[in-house]
Amino acid sequence: MNKFRRAFLKTAGAAGALLATAGVGLLKSGEVFAATWNKLAFSSNNMNDAMKNANYGGAVESKDIVLKAPDIAENGAVVPVEVTSNIPGTTSIALFVEKNQYPMVADFELPSGTEPYISTRIKMSQTSNVRVAVRAGGKNYTQVKEVKVTIGGCGG
């Protein structure tokens, strides 16, 4: 990937973020969403950038995060993923799929009072590492599991 393309993508991402801000402003009738949609992170097309842009940079591997996902997913369009963080002070949990075109899947902020747990279903385009990132006490932690996909769920 050449430097010009990178710069372009970054600029495009930033412009998009502004658009997203405007969008949220328009539809904010009653519901207040705490943060603007992180376009930069969701449109990053490699794992490291996605994690960094989602503020999970420098995450340390931790065995205190339990990531449950199938070893083999027959259908990549629906892959169940369950995360439990045993790290005290967990405030958010994010999911990434390394080989998806855009690795970032979702970021869940969990205020105190909500258990450090989330379960959902995600799409995987192909066999890949599924990575979970956890923020606890201002620090970042991560855990990973490979899921083999027999039929992809992102393409068509």
């Binding site: 969008g23 705490a34 943060a35 949609w37 629906v78 902020e109 969990l110 009072g113 279903r121």
Partner: protein, 106 residues
């Protein structure tokens, strides 16, 4: 829009186990229509906020890789029977979705 969101909250001790199933295409924008060869525009839920009696208990941002007809399960401490749990979601086209349920006694 009750039929677009199914919610259930059951109590386990003082923890409410909340399960939500939404109806949404979660279109990625990366798929091509097999007949027209054109990309199907992205259409996906990008924000989800849950509240317990009005207090935020979950604030999520989603991308295109959350599966179609999204399912989430989360757990809230300190809940009592009769507590109200509400969920508000919006998609990239600005459509709002909401659901509400009451914590059931065990």
């Amino acid at each position: 829009m009750a039929d677009e969101m199914k919610m259930r909250a059951t109590l386990q001790g003082d923890v409410a186990d909340v399960k939500v199933l939404m109806t949404h295409v979660m279109e990625t924008g990366l798929r091509k229509d097999s007949k027209t060869e054109k990309f199907i525009p992205a259409h996906f839920i990008d924000h989800v906020v849950a509240t317990l009696n009005g207090k935020t208990v979950l604030d999520a941002q989603w991308g295109i890789a959350v599966a179609k007809n999204p399912f989430i399960n989360f757990k809230i401490k300190g809940a009592k029977p009769g507590d109200k749990i509400a969920l508000n979601a919006s998609d990239n086209l600005g459509t709002q979705y909401s659901g509400e349920t009451t914590v059931a006694a065990k």
